[in-house]
């Protein structure tokens, strides 16, 4: 159907559902930590602005968390429905890590989230703050389990293959596999940065409406500090992650660089800034190169070289244009975000941070930029892992369930329609919450009171429509 086979459709379906899903946990991870900082500052300084900001963002956190739960249910089943070959061979390892994630989330959702969302005024301030901290830590632990599983697929370790199945030999080596430390730092920072841009964008929106708004000033300022500090760290972490990838998945790096083969005439490796890579020709068209730059970045020398894609058989190449371009989008947006941070610092130094309308408009426009970069990064690493699902060990085509093109197409359309409706509604509602004045927040209820603890989204109390 339309030239796609069932494998393409299965991959696209997974990419679609997981891309949708990952935005919400990433948002929750960053926002939970921001809420922890806000509440901590409120308790420490007694400044009511922090309290108002906490109440403003906690309602949005509730909606984001709820959408993450809804879209996450699908993920827990998709490994089996669509990737049964993978589940059967690797379930002894990845299934266990996923179950630990579910247990963590279940535990957190059952307990601390209720206190965090609804307990204010009903438990002591210290206990409430403790609940916020535990939720923030819980989101990080959830992320840890998932990234352990993903990293193990990228750089498998601590296993033995028995009758074609991966069985655990050493859990510590599985959990702390070679790419895990780099991936968790890179992803954690990406979540913080994404939320930094959302908070900055929302702050900018309210500043553009009223530049005297104290809460808007505070969140804008906090976001700009966070961006300024996090981006340089993220760029260093990304560089280290790249070197780790070069060590364990050199073909992925070759695709990211658009590097087909080494030219013996050339000293060092140029950095390809722009190109249209062609897998059929095994070459780039319309190249724009910076001499020596790749050598410098990847080997930290002037004449170092890495393997070109042609060192591997064609059937072990990832989709080069996809990996090449998603990587460039991520890096390009990273540079843009760094620029925003530096510009913010400059304006702050000139005393113009709350006055420069053009900068606030820029911040408003760049609200989703962190999330776009995050998705581009995930596409780079996941598409770059192809054609393997467990790198070097299990090919994606051997992992997919044997569904027909028709049933894959039908379910894909089903997911796209339902997600469009549901998340359209969710995001519409979230935008309504964001538009309310941050200084006008009222506390929500608690267990046994008007609001209840087990449904995250009910902490948000705005009407869905304009009241008539």
């Amino acid at each position: 159907m339309l030239g796609f086979d069932a494998l393409d459709l299965a991959r696209f379906q997974f990419a679609f559902t997981v891309s949708f899903h990952i935005l919400f946990p990433a948002f929750s991870i960053g926002l939970a930590s921001y809420l922890m900082v806000l509440e901590g500052l409120w308790l420490k300084t007694g400044n009511e602005i922090y309290h108002n900001l906490y109440r403003f963002w906690v309602r949005i956190f509730a909606v984001v968390f709820g959408l993450g739960v809804v879209s996450g249910v699908v993920m827990a089943y998709e490994f089996g429905t669509n990737w049964s070959g993978f589940a059967e061979r690797a379930g002894d390892i990845t299934g266990v890590l996923l179950t630990y994630e579910v247990l963590t989330a279940f535990f957190m959702e059952a307990g601390f989230l209720g206190i965090m969302l609804f307990g204010e005024g009903r438990v002591s301030k210290r206990l409430h703050f403790a609940a916020t901290c535990l939720v923030a830590i819980g989101t990080l632990i959830s992320m840890t389990w998932i990234l352990m599983s993903n990293s193990w697929m990228q750089t498998p370790a601590g296993y033995e293959v028995i009758n074609g199945r991966f069985e655990p030999a050493n859990w510590l080596e599985i959990m702390f596999n070679p790419s895990f430390p780099y991936r968790i730092v890179h992803m954690g920072l990406a979540a913080f940065i994404s939320v930094g841009f959302v908070v900055g964008g929302v702050g900018a929106y309210h500043l553009l409406r009223n530049r005297r708004d104290q809460a808007a000033r505070k969140m804008f300022s906090m976001a700009m500090w966070a961006i300024l500090i996090a981006l340089p760290v993220q760029i260093i972490a990304g560089d280290m992650h790249g070197l780790n990838t070069l060590e364990h998945q050199p073909a992925k790096v070759a695709a990211m660089e658009g590097h087909w083969e080494n030219d013996p005439e050339e000293n060092g490796m140029p950095l390809v800034l722009f190109a249209l890579p062609s897998m059929d020709d095994g070459a780039n068209h319309f190249e724009l190169k910076v001499p020596y730059a790749s050598s410098l970045i990847l080997t930290h020398t002037l004449d170092g070289k890495i393997q070109g894609l042609k060192d591997w058989p064609r059937d072990e190449w990832p989709d080069v244009p996809l990996v090449f371009w998603s990587f460039r989008i991520m890096v390009g947006l990273g540079m843009l975000m760094l620029g925003m941070g530096v510009l913010g610092l400059f304006l702050r130094w000139r005393g113009q941070l709350y006055e420069a309308r053009w900068f606030q408009r820029m911040a408003l426009f760049t609200t989703p930029v962190g999330f776009v970069a995050l998705l581009a990064g995930w596409i780079t690493t996941e598409a770059g892992r192809q054609p393997w699902v467990v790198y070097g060990m299990l090919r994606t085509e051997d992992a997919v369930s044997a569904h027909s093109v028709t049933s894959m197409m039908a379910t894909l359309i089903g997911f796209m329609l339902v997600y469009a409706i549901i998340f359209g509604i969710g995001i519409y509602y979230m935008l309504k919450l964001i538009r309310t004045e941050p200084m006008s927040m009222v506390p929500a209820g608690g267990p046994g009171h008007e609001r209840q603890p087990k449904r995250p989204m009910s902490a948000a109390d705005g009407s869905f429509e304009e009241q008539n």
């Binding site: 739960v69 809804v70 249910v73 699908v74 827990a76 490994f79 089996g80 429905t81 669509n82 049964s84 070959g85 589940a87 059967e88 379930g91 002894d92 390892i93 990845t94 299934g95 266990v96 890590l97 996923l98 179950t99 630990y100 579910v102 247990l103 279940f106 535990f107 959702e109 059952a110 307990g111 069985e167 655990p168 369930s401 044997a402 569904h403 027909s404 049933s407 379910t411 089903g414 997911f415 339902v418 509604i425 969710g426 509602y429 267990p447 046994g448 008007e450 609001r451 209840q452 603890p453 087990k454 449904r455 995250p456 989204m457 009910s458 109390d461 009407s463 869905f464 429509e465 008539n468």
Partner: protein, 334 residues
């Protein structure tokens, strides 16, 4: 003595599934009963009875699914693709049901759409779950550790029947729950529904009990040989007792007991399945030992399960305690 970890895991996952069926069963049942009740206020009350707890209830399904993946990867990787279409339909329906909880109370003009999402989502999800159950009972074609059947192997009169039967069952669970949680005219309506639903459910259980051994020789063999028959014999007797007792509870308006007896019926139904199939995990051939993950996987995972699940249970019990008692209109937990 070595501990038989696969059997323990079979029980732990069985527990998660049973928790899910009983707890989300009544939440979905409330949705199935929506068309029988007219009026926004009454429907508000109905939804409010489950609003505080449904999210936690649904999480048992995720735990059951993920646990199957970690502890019995073969079962996970055969059952899920074999029941692909009904499972995806169930997931999509549950999304609608869940989102209706969040937004119905925040809407006014669009409320009828959220009513439809809630009730339609619950019906489709329940029917799909029943089809999945029927499909598994029918047996799945497995060779070389993979599902070998077609896309529509699950599609059979039997599976469609179990789909409808489960709708009747969840509706009865929902009615029992609502009798306990509501009062007055609304409660009377559920009393009226309880008897026909009990009749429907018990008839369905009888039909399934006759149909299963007729179409499946091995189960007939299991049931009608000693000592299995001794294990199995109490089940139909207890089902009869419970049903009769539910019938009486309607007469005497025992508003609390009735719900627990319906839970009892479900427990008996699930026990019947376990007695019929243990130690099979994928009928007709795959046992739980065939499907187990490595011992190193099951023992690593059990540590977290044993520590975290009791805490979750304690918190669940606490939240049911907090929200005990009747729900009246205007006391929104939304």
């Amino acid at each position: 003595m070595t501990i038989d970890l696969p059997v323990i895991w079979y029980l732990l996952i069985g527990f998660a599934v049973a928790m899910y069926v009983m707890m989300d069963g009544f939440s979905l049942g409330v949705g199935i009963l929506f068309p029988f009740i007219r009026g926004d206020e009454k429907r508000d009350v109905m939804m409010n009875t489950v609003a505080p707890v449904w999210d936690g209830n649904q999480t048992w399904m995720i735990l059951g699914g993920a646990g199957l993946y970690g502890a019995f990867p073969l079962a996970y990787s055969v059952i899920l693709p074999a029941l692909y279409l009904p499972l995806i339909l169930m997931l999509l329906a549950l999304i609608f049901r869940g989102i209706a909880f969040e937004f119905r109370f925040k809407s006014n003009r669009s409320r009828k759409w959220f009513d439809l999402a809630f009730s339609g989502g619950a019906m489709v999800a329940t029917f799909s779950q029943g089809v999945v159950l029927g499909g598994i009972i029918n047996g799945l074609a497995v060779s070389e550790r993979a599902y070998q059947g077609g896309t529509f192997d699950w599609f059979s009169p039997f599976a469609l029947f179990t789909g409808v039967a489960l709708m009747a069952g969840y509706a009865l669970l929902g009615a029992g729950w609502l009798i306990m949680k509501t009062e007055g005219e609304l409660q009377q309506r559920f009393y009226q529904l309880a008897r026909p639903l009990t009749l429907l459910l018990v008839t369905a259980m009888i039909v399934i009990s006759i149909w299963t051994p007729l179409s499946n020789g091995r189960i007939a063999e299991r049931w009608f040989t000693f000592p299995n028959i001794a294990w199995f014999a109490p089940v139909p007797i207890l089902v009869a007792l419970f049903s009769w007792s539910i019938w009486n509870d309607v007469t005497h308006a025992h508003e609390r007991r009735l719900f627990f007896k319906v839970l009892g019926l479900f427990f008996l139904g699930l026990s019947g399945l376990v007695i019929s199939f243990f130690p099979l995990i994928i009928p007709p051939d795959i046992t739980l030992w065939d499907a187990s993950s490595a011992r190193a996987s099951q023992s690593f995972l059990i540590v977290g399960y044993v520590i975290l699940v009791p805490i979750v249970l304690a918190y669940t019990a606490y939240s049911y305690y907090v929200f005990r008692g009747k729900v009246r209109h205007g006391e929104g937990y939304h």
